[in-house]
């Protein structure tokens, strides 16, 4: 777990970053094969897909939990996982926006 966190910290490329994120967030993520991804936009879309699917899963399980008996740990795990991926996706989004702004400030 700590190794994966460290790996995310010093990720050299988006692909390895996403690998790291996938290992942290655990099995709830539907793993999209990013090992061979070289296209940045493809990597980005897979991040958002992961976040969305984790959120959907969490919402579905929460609805079931509210309506009746549901395994407590399962619901909690799903919601935590959704939060993790969402946080990661937001962090990536922020980095991208900052990078874009920096680039746009570059003198031609």
């Amino acid at each position: 777990m700590i190794d994966s966190l460290a790996a995310v910290g010093r990720a050299a490329s988006p692909a390895s970053l996403l690998d790291g994120l996938a290992t942290i967030s655990g099995p709830a993520l539907k793993p999209v094969n990013v090992a061979a991804e070289t296209s940045f936009s493809a990597a980005l879309s897979s991040v958002s897909q992961n976040a969305v699917s984790a959120l959907r899963n969490a919402e579905g399980l929460s609805l079931k939990a509210l309506q009746g008996d549901m395994d407590t740990r399962e619901v909690v795990d799903a919601v935590m996982s959704a939060e993790q991926t969402l946080q990661a996706a937001i962090a990536i989004r922020d980095k991208i926006v900052t990078a874009y702004l920096e680039v746009s400030r570059m003198a031609i």
């Binding site: 959120l55 919402e59 929460s62 609805l63 939990a65 509210l66 309506q67 009746g68 407590t72 619901v75 909690v76 919601v79 959704a82 939060e83 969402l86 946080q87 937001i90």
Partner: protein
């Protein structure tokens, strides 16, 4: 099936849980009252389906009350269990168990709402 708003459902369940808590408290408080029959609320699924379980009008003590006009009513439960000589049907252990269920559900409810609210706030920052 149309998509259900998570927060709306959570609010409904919270309301149902608090009415159930009132029913359980009533039972515990009246555990020694002669002639008192255990009360409870209708199951949550029935409340959601908006079906009013057919009022047993033949039961002389059937009183359907609720804070709103929806299916949330505290009604007397049909007991087939043998009564105490005093006519009291409250089993304290069962009431305490129901109380525990209410608490667990409420904790889950507030935790889920908190988490999703947090996530929502994260995205709109």
């Amino acid at each position: 099936m149309q998509p259900v708003n998570l927060f709306a459902l959570a609010s409904q369940q919270a309301r149902w849980l608090s009415v159930r808590q009132t029913a359980v408290s009533s039972n515990i408080a009246n555990a020694n009252t002669p002639g008192y029959g255990t009360v409870d609320v209708e199951p949550f699924q029935a409340v959601l389906d908006q079906t009013r379980v057919a009022m047993r009008a033949t039961h002389p003590q059937h009183i359907a009350v609720g804070a709103t006009a929806d299916a949330l009513s505290v009604r007397q439960v049909d007991e087939s269990r043998p009564l105490m000589p005093s006519g009291n049907t409250v089993v304290l252990e069962q009431e305490l168990m129901k109380s525990g269920e209410v608490r667990r559900s409420m904790e889950m409810n507030t935790a889920i709402v908190k988490a999703f609210h947090r996530m929502l706030m994260m995205t709109t920052r």
